[in-house]
């Protein structure tokens, strides 16, 4: 076993203190060590976006990032988006527009969509497509995903 190190970071607004093997990825930390299974494994090499999370306000593929690098950072996963039992407007829009089928890619897709809209509230449909290029969905053909994001952008505008 590789050496372990102590790690302090903020996860969905709450402090986490945990000892992790230094070669652990953020995805494995979330899923296996912290039982935060909303973030999905689907390729393990940054090609599909199912494991997308926000770190210090920027989205990354958690399968590629080393857990040790979370030290002092703020992490938001899909589980951190809702308020109580209320869905985040982006989550609600995905539900309302029929963008969720098998749903496996959706946590990553929704975190990425939310980041894109935060970064650019005037996002165009073309920019949405480009911004979601790294999120593979096999069920929807993306059309309803784009409708869902567009509705959130429209609501803001």
């Amino acid at each position: 076993m590789s050496v372990k190190t102590e790690l302090d970071f903020t996860l969905n607004g709450r402090p986490v203190n945990i000892e992790v093997p230094v070669d652990m990825t953020v995805l494995n930390l979330l899923r296996d060590a912290l039982d935060m299974k909303g973030t999905k494994y689907a390729c393990g090499e940054g090609e599909c976006g199912a494991c997308t999370i926000e770190v210090d306000g920027t989205t990354i593929n958690s399968c590629l990032m080393m857990a040790v690098d979370l030290q002092d950072r703020e992490v938001m996963t899909i589980e951190g988006m809702q308020t109580g039992h209320m869905l985040h407007p982006m989550q609600q829009s995905f539900v309302d527009h029929g963008a969720v089928q098998c749903g496996f890619c959706m946590p990553g897709m929704i975190v990425q969509a939310n980041y894109l809209v935060k970064k650019n509230p005037d996002l165009t449909r073309e920019e949405m497509k480009r911004g979601l290029e790294g999120n593979v969905c096999r069920c929807t053909g993306y059309t309803k995903v784009l409708d869902a994001v567009a509705a959130v952008v429209g609501a803001k505008g």
Binding site: F94, V100, C102
Partner: protein
């Protein structure tokens, strides 16, 4: 409250055709849903399989001692531990192999306390192989001295299919134009976002509970039992939420019995979960096929015959994939009116990977050929005989009431309407002529438009003796409904549709309907999610059950209200007068009154719906589906003639859906289905070299991403299918089937080049254009 509403009137409204949200979507969008991939059972061990990684070899010896001695390893098994166990469509497969026939072959398996230990243990297993010459093409498989792959099939021949109708020689003689081409359909795979997983757990009685992604739970028991040497009755299948399926989970694959054997022998639950590379290498593919198609037509534009000689690479084991000619021949004989048909299909064993069922099931392959031949006829007839390309197709389009040579009875046929709707909406003929005229002009970017259509079963497919689905429906004292159905949910949205149908009949909100459909110990029989059958079959079943429940409630209410049951209706949570909607009583109150009256009565009904269709026989002459449907796609593309990139800008889709049930779910199936066909047409390809997959990752196996999706203009044609629920037909496969040849026809319109061998990758297109220019 009830006193106040007693004077209200509730109008009759309908949920049918409305946009119904998927009930499981909020939990999925919040990341709360626990997929099978996420599940951990108490005391659970992690299984891992050693795959051969070589295409053809004898196994001289296996040394598992080092793996067994690794701390945390509970068990290592090989074929020696599972001598008699068989699986597969013709039982030519086994959970663990004593000889290697393809790269995927399972040689040994371990159960350990963590995934990491299991992975480490696998690397410690030493196998001494003697590599054998491999067979990697169908041509080599047929050679006289070809190595034999399966001992029981010494000529390397697997399944064979034949269908003949009419006098071929006579039809050929009558034909003014005969087309003769070979189309080769490549290997693609499902790429479910949730990788393959099974968790097996035995109880003290030797009963297996298997958590599975199967889309076929009741037959799955039957298929899994011989691979474990136990009775099918001793298997309980639980289907947790799954990350996609698309046909991939119709067969049982070796990893599932392997998980069960490990669980049986260790006495602990065992989970096997693939990583993405394992998923690519060890998952089913779409059945590849070489299709030699000959088609004839008169100078008046009347089709005279189709003759198809299909040769399939069976891979090392026979799966559902190799049975796709059952559907291919329906396309050959039914895609437009074909008076004379000659279909032959033969699968040959090779040392390649093997297929499974895949959305479109044979029709993706055959329509790629037939729809291009239709386009080739249309072009010739327009040029030489001034026949409009839509008119040509309309001449050959079947009409309601026609019967195909295989006895598919097209009770309600809307092909003509699909054709005219799509053609008008896209201005097809004008663009076709314009782009063809521009083809030889200067310019790097060429526009093209292409039309394709197809036919598919839309009322199930009776490949078993029964194609039915059971439903159990109960209502509680609060007017909440629970529906237990045999139909599985794999993301496609039967949860929304059943809720909608039951709510429609019982006059309750869809949110008040709970669906139970993931446990074979609870659910009644069904033959699985496949063949675009679930809304049709399970939807009919749920509707019939709801109607029974409604009758029971209204009978009770009629006694109370002193009117006949026919004069009553259920609306908005109330029993009302049918004629004016005057409220009689609250539904929940009515149910309680039924429950607590002197002769208590509780609403618990059941139904087994068997569609009005005939089993697919050996002669392939039967009305094997209770409905058939058509779709037309018109693709508009831009081809970069230098890089060969094909950008699909817009697709106009017109599909006979019978009747729209859940409009949102229907659109979603059309869009998602199209994306599958788009990837197949343009970018997805499993690249094999000597039986080894060279691109087992999303870097080099390119599924469509958001920027590649075209704009869609979707038209639903409602033909009102008499047998379907509210008139609906099954819909989910046609969008995948029709798009690829529409794109191929559009690329032809843009470039003058036919692509007989998909995918139309940039390199292939660029090379063909360059060669044409420099020839």
């Amino acid at each position: 409250m009830s006193e106040q509403v007693a004077f209200q009137h509730i109008e009759k409204t309908s949920l049918i055709g409305k946009r119904i949200k998927k009930p499981d979507a909020p939990a999925k969008a919040m990341g709360k849903t626990r997929y099978i991939n996420d599940m951990v059972l108490p005391q659970m061990l992690y299984g891992k399989i050693l795959h051969a990684g070589r295409p053809h070899a004898e196994i001289i010896s296996i040394d598992t001692s080092e793996a067994e001695n690794l701390a945390g390893v509970h068990l290592v098994i090989t074929a020696k531990d599972t001598p008699e166990l068989r699986l597969g469509f013709v039982k030519d497969n086994a959970p663990l192999k004593d000889r290697v026939r393809c790269e995927r072959d399972e040689v040994a398996a371990v159960a350990a306390e963590s995934e990491a230990i299991a992975a480490a243990a696998i690397k410690l297993i030493k196998v001494d192989y003697k590599d054998l010459p491999g067979v990697f093409t169908v041509e080599d498989s047929q050679k006289k001295d070809a190595p034999v792959i399966q001992e029981h099939f010494p000529d390397n021949k697997s399944l064979k299919f034949e269908f003949k109708h009419g006098d071929l020689a006579e039809a050929e003689a009558k034909s003014d134009i005969i087309l003769d081409d070979v189309f080769n359909v490549h290997l693609v795979t499902h790429c479910c976002m949730g990788t393959s997983c099974a968790i097996a757990d035995f109880d003290h009685n030797g009963k297996l509970t298997i958590y599975s992604q199967t889309q076929y739970p009741y037959n799955y028991k039957m298929d899994l039992a011989p691979a474990l040497g136990i009775d099918a009755g001793d298997i309980r299948v639980i289907q947790p939420p799954t990350g996609g399926s698309f046909g991939a989970k119709l067969d049982v694959y070796p990893f599932e019995p392997v998980a069960a054997i490990l669980a049986q022998k260790t006495g602990r639950p065992v989970k096997i979960l693939f990583d993405r590379e394992e998923e690519f290498i060890n998952s089913p593919t779409r059945q590849p096929a070489s299709m030699h198609l000959r088609s004839g037509c008169t100078s008046d534009g009347i089709l005279t015959f189709r003759a198809a000689d299909v040769v399939m690479d069976n891979g090392a084991y026979t799966s559902w994939g190799a049975t796709v000619p059952v559907i291919m021949m329906r396309t050959t004989s039914g895609h437009y009116r074909v008076p004379v048909v000659d279909f032959k299909g033969q699968a040959y064993y090779t040392n390649n990977s093997y297929a499974g069922s895949f959305r479109g099931y044979g029709n993706v392959q055959m329509t790629y050929a037939t729809a291009q031949h239709m386009d080739m006829f249309a072009e010739r007839l327009a040029k030489d005989h001034d026949l409009d390309p839509i008119e040509f197709r309309l001449k050959n389009a079947q009409k309601s009431g026609e019967v195909t040579p295989q006895k598919s009875y097209l009770r309600e046929c809307a092909l003509a309407e699909c054709l005219t709707t799509a053609a008008e909406a896209s201005d097809y003929v004008a663009k076709l002529n314009k782009y063809a005229a521009e083809r030889e002009q200067k310019g790097r970017y060429k526009h093209g438009i292409g039309l394709a259509s197809s036919i598919h079963n839309a009322g199930g497919a009776k490949i078993h003796k029964s194609d039915g689905c059971g439903t159990i429906l109960k209502m509680d004292d609060y007017a909440r409904v629970t529906v237990i159905t045999g139909a599985s949910e794999i993301g496609q949205g039967i949860d929304a549709v059943i809720g909608q149908i039951v709510a429609e009949e019982l006059g309750v909100p869809p949110e008040h309907v709970t669906l139970v459909n993931n446990d074979s110990d609870l659910g009644p029989w069904d033959v699985g999610v496949h063949a675009s059958r679930t809304t049709f079959i399970a939807g009919n079943g749920a509707r019939r059950a709801a109607i029974k429940a409604k009758k029971q409630i209204l009978a009770a209410a009629s006694k109370q209200a002193n009117v006949t049951a026919e004069e009553l209706d259920l609306r908005g949570g109330y029993v009302v007068q049918d004629k004016d909607g005057a409220v009689v009583t609250r539904l929940d109150k009515m149910l309680r009154q039924m429950h607590f009256q002197p002769e208590p009565d509780v609403v618990m009904v059941s139904d087994y719906y068997e569609p009005n269709s005939e089993p697919e026989g050996r002669d392939h002459i039967s009305d094997h589906s209770a409905a058939y449907s058509h779709a037309v796609h018109i693709a508009e593309v831009v081809v970069d003639t230098l890089t060969g990139e094909v950008k699909v800008e817009k697709v106009t889709m017109a599909q006979d859906v019978g009747r729209v049930i859940n409009r949102m779910g229907l659109e979603a199936q059309m869009e998602g289905g199209l994306a599958f066909g788009l990837g197949f047409a343009l970018s997805e390809e499993m690249i094999f070299e000597e039986g080894r997959l060279k691109n087992p990752n999303f870097r080099d196996y390119k599924v469509p991403t958001a920027p590649e999706m075209p704009d869609l203009d979707i038209h639903f044609i409602e033909s009102d299918c008499e047998e379907g629920p509210y008139g609906a037909k099954g819909i989910a496969e046609l969008p995948t089937i029709v798009i690829a040849p529409a794109i191929a026809n559009a690329v032809y319109n843009a470039t003058g080049i036919r692509f007989f061998n998909p995918p139309m990758t940039p390199e292939k297109v660029a090379r063909a254009i360059w060669e044409k220019k420099n020839s």
